[in-house]
Amino acid sequence: MAKVMMKGNEAMGLAAIKGGCRAFFGYPITPQNEIPEYLARVMPEYGGVFLQAESEVAAINMIYGASGAGVRSMTSSSSPGIALKQEGITYIAGAELPCVIINVMRGGPGLGGIQPSQADYKQVTRGGGNGDYYLLAFAPENLQETVNIVKEAFDLAEIYRNPVMIAVDGLIGQMMEPVDVDMEIPKREIPEKTWATTGTLGKRERNVVNSLYLDPQALENHSLKLKAKYDLMREKEQRYELVNVDHSEIVIVAYGTMARICRSAMEILNEKGINVGLLRPISIYPFPEKAFAELPSTVKGLLTCELSTGQMIDDVKIANNGKLPIGFFGRTGGMLPEPEEIVDAVIKMIGGMKNE
């Protein structure tokens, strides 16, 4: 199908419907408002549920209920609202329910600002709530990738029985790009929802949705079962893109909007005769450690670029395991760098490495 122009937030709303989402619960917050506003208009046409909750806490618990009842459910919010959802998210992970959560990130901490940011990286990739759990988390860079991932997320959530978070920054939510919402996504086998509480109808044993395990041994067993899922995700769901790494001494590590700005910086550098590569995480949990193993030995340094004061850099250090020097460039609070700032950071890093 031909690509149509859509605003990021609306495209994510439509992608959710195409991914089978039939229940959306949310609460207004900038810069993601067009997701609920779009679904308020469109969800009824698909016979699904749209409800504005009284708070983010309520919305995520509505997700717990609807998802526990076996319906593909989604909520969306932005940073302070996602912080409030953490209680529900850890319960959902603990009860092994699928759901999709979109986080259109803005600057923090506290009320912060409303401009684009990647400052929730740690909250997204470390679980965020209490306990031993992780979210499957993706950070796409353009609308086509975002839309495909939102659709896939509903399958992945059910395969792993785990919440999937799509973390984009406010710019991706607000911008318009050509996008084909009907692009094919991988066909996967989806397990039956034998666990859903839909009423036994006298035909099966009772189902219970729960995250309480008072017996420590039982809770340890449960946590190990969850861990096995995260290990499987790390094996199967690492996603990344490597650009031009074969001919480059410096490889930039960046995701989302920052990766796009870095691509422009790479063009400018290329004109100056400096070859720079890009390692772009698409999944941020699991972090694409495999990509680092693929870097050729000609690479002499990594430059982590983020819209934060430096959060992903910790994962880069773990994946790099002390091998290469790691530099950092970041803008935060909603500031977006111009490509030239990254050009300067790369040139500075090269200079620094020569001096050593």
Partner: protein
């Protein structure tokens, strides 16, 4: 054209977002890659609004425009904000009805177009933005009016179909102004 980066700025309500959106939609129709990005949030409430559009044969990378090829300025605060944001040899399109200031730079091509006066002459003050778009399109030769009109027809639907002719006239008026 390989690529064109445009900033478009003015008061909320002057239709600057629409100018940018029409350019982006037209670019998509004509097979270019494109990206439209608005300012958002309370800053747009009653105050200034702006959007940036990138149109390119190559995939669009940075959504952030550091130096625009062209800027469209609908009010005075926007000129102060964006004057330095256009590249040398770039173009500045100014709504001279509302901006009585001249551009300070000599390394850019400047067009002073009294679009509000011209819209009043056409009998519909709301089409000032379309006059500006017409002027921009004439100068850059980016798209034909037909592409824009087709898009407007789609978005107006039957209810507002009667507004098509005035919008067409507005685009033409902008073009004629540049040609003279």
């Amino acid at each position: 054209m390989n690529s064109e980066k445009i900033n478009c700025a003015g008061f909320g309500g002057q239709g600057v977002m629409l100018i940018g959106q029409l350019l982006a939609y037209a670019a998509n129709e004509e097979g270019f890659n494109t990206l439209w990005y608005p300012s958002y949030g309370p800053e747009t409430r009653g105050g200034t609004a702006n959007c940036s559009v990138t149109i390119s044969k190559q995939p669009v990378n940075s959504p952030v425009i550091s130096k625009a090829d062209s800027i469209i300025i609908m009010n005075k605060p926007s000129l102060d904000k964006f004057e330095d944001k256009v590249r040398p040899d770039g173009k500045i399109f100014i709504n001279s009805t509302l901006v009585n200031k001249k551009v300070n730079r000599s390394d850019v091509e400047v067009f002073y177009i009294p679009v509000n006066d011209m819209a009043a002459e056409l009998g519909n003050p709301k089409v000032a933005n379309l006059i500006m778009l017409g002027a921009y399109l004439e100068s850059t030769k980016l798209f034909e009016d037909e592409v824009i009109i087709k898009l407007l027809k789609k978005s107006f639907g039957e209810n507002k179909a009667h507004l098509i002719p005035i919008n067409q006239q507005a685009l033409q008026a902008g073009r004629i102004f540049i040609r003279q």
